[in-house]
C-alpha cells in the first residue's frame, strides 16, 4: 500500500559507510539483538517517518539545518514531492573543510500516497530540524456512512 519512490540523492561519502560500520560495532558491543532504530535509509534524502491518522497522513522529514524557505513541497493527486537544497553554501574564503559528513546539495524525493490528497489543506511546520507535513484525504475519499433505506 505504501510505496516509496526514490529520487536523486546526495552523493555517497565514505563517512556513510564508516558510520554504518560504527553503528554495527556499537550494536555488537551493546549486546543488542536488533537495531533499536530502523537503519537510516542511505538511498534517499530526506529520511521520512510516516503515520496514518484519522484525517490522512502525517509525514516527518529529517532535515536538520535546512532553510524551510528553500524546500518546495508539492502535492498533486496522490503524489507528494519534496524538492530543494540543503547545506548548499560553499566554504568561505580562507576556510578549510576538515570533515564533511552531513548531507549537502540538491535533493528530490517523491512519495506515492495511499489516497488522493486534499492538496489545498496540506499543512507543513518546521521544528528543530524536522519538517512535519500533514496531508488530509480529499473529501471524495473520506469514508461515508451509507444509510440503508427501509422499503
Amino acid at each position: 500500500m505504501f510505496e516509496m519512490k526514490i529520487g536523486p540523492r546526495t552523493p555517497w561519502t565514505v563517512f556513510d559507510e564508516l558510520e554504518s560500520i560504527q553503528e554495527d560495532v556499537n550494536r555488537l558491543l551493546s549486546g543488542e539483538e536488533a537495531p533499536r532504530f530502523a537503519r537510516r535509509a542511505r538511498a534517499a534524502y530526506p529520511p521520512l517517518n510516516v503515520w496514518s491518522t484519522a484525517e490522512g497522513l502525517v509525514i516527518d522529514a529529517e532535515m536538520p539545518g535546512v532553510d524551510p524557505q528553500a524546500v518546495e513541497i508539492s502535492v498533486v493527486g496522490d503524489e507528494l514531492s519534496l524538492h530543494g537544497k540543503v547545506n548548499a553554501q560553499e566554504p568561505a574564503a580562507g576556510e578549510t573543510v576538515l570533515r564533511r559528513e552531513r548531507p549537502a546539495g540538491e535533493f528530490e524525493r517523491t512519495l506515492q500516497l495511499p489516497f488522493r490528497a486534499n492538496a489545498g489543506a496540506v499543512k507543513a511546520t518546521f521544528k528543530n530540524g524536522i519538517l512535519r507535513i500533514s496531508i488530509p484525504r480529499s473529501e471524495e475519499e473520506k469514508p461515508r456512512k451509507i444509510a440503508i433505506e427501509a422499503n
Partner: protein
C-alpha cells in the same frame, strides 16, 4: 563556557548512543564543528570541554502525532554523543555553542599567539 558543566542527564549504561554526523571547518580564527541533531533543542544538548576533549551529548526526540499509527520509519531518536580531541592551540575558555534548527554549531577560537600574522617586509 565553563570547563566543567554538571551533567544533568548522564547517559545510563546499556542505552544505545548514536554518533551524530558533523562537518568540521578551520579558518584563521579557529575551528567550527557543525553537528546534525534533528529533534534536539538548546535544552537537550550539552557541550563540555575537559582536558582538551570537546564532548557533545544529549538526546533527540520525536513527536508522535495524536492518534497516529506508524506506517514507516526511516529515522529514530535517542541519546547521542561524540568526542573531539582539540589541538593545543585552541582557547577552551572562549568556546561557544549554539543550537538552531536541529543543528549544533560549536565555535572553537585559536589562541592569540598561534594565529598567523602577516609580517610586513621592508626594503
Amino acid at each position: 563556557m565553563s570547563e566543567t558543566i554538571q551533567k544533568s542527564n548522564p547517559i545510563p549504561e546499556n542505552e544505545p548512543v548514536y554518533v551524530p554526523r558533523v562537518d568540521v571547518r578551520e579558518n584563521a580564527e579557529g575551528f567550527v564543528v557543525v553537528a546534525d541533531l534533528p529533534g534536539a533543542d538548546e535544552k537537550s544538548v550539552e557541550a563540555t570541554v575537559q582536558k582538551n576533549v570537546l564532548t557533545i551529548e544529549g538526546w533527540t526526540q520525536l513527536e508522535k502525532p495524536q492518534g497516529g499509527e506508524e506506517l514507516g520509519r526511516e529515522f529514530g531518536a535517542g541519546r547521542f554523543r561524540r568526542d573531539f580531541a582539540l589541538p593545543d592551540a585552541v582557547d577552551p575558555e572562549r568556546i561557544q555553542a549554539r543550537a538552531k534548527n536541529g543543528v549544533l554549531t560549536v565555535t572553537i577560537p585559536k589562541k592569540e599567539e598561534v594565529k598567523a600574522r602577516k609580517i610586513q617586509v621592508t626594503g
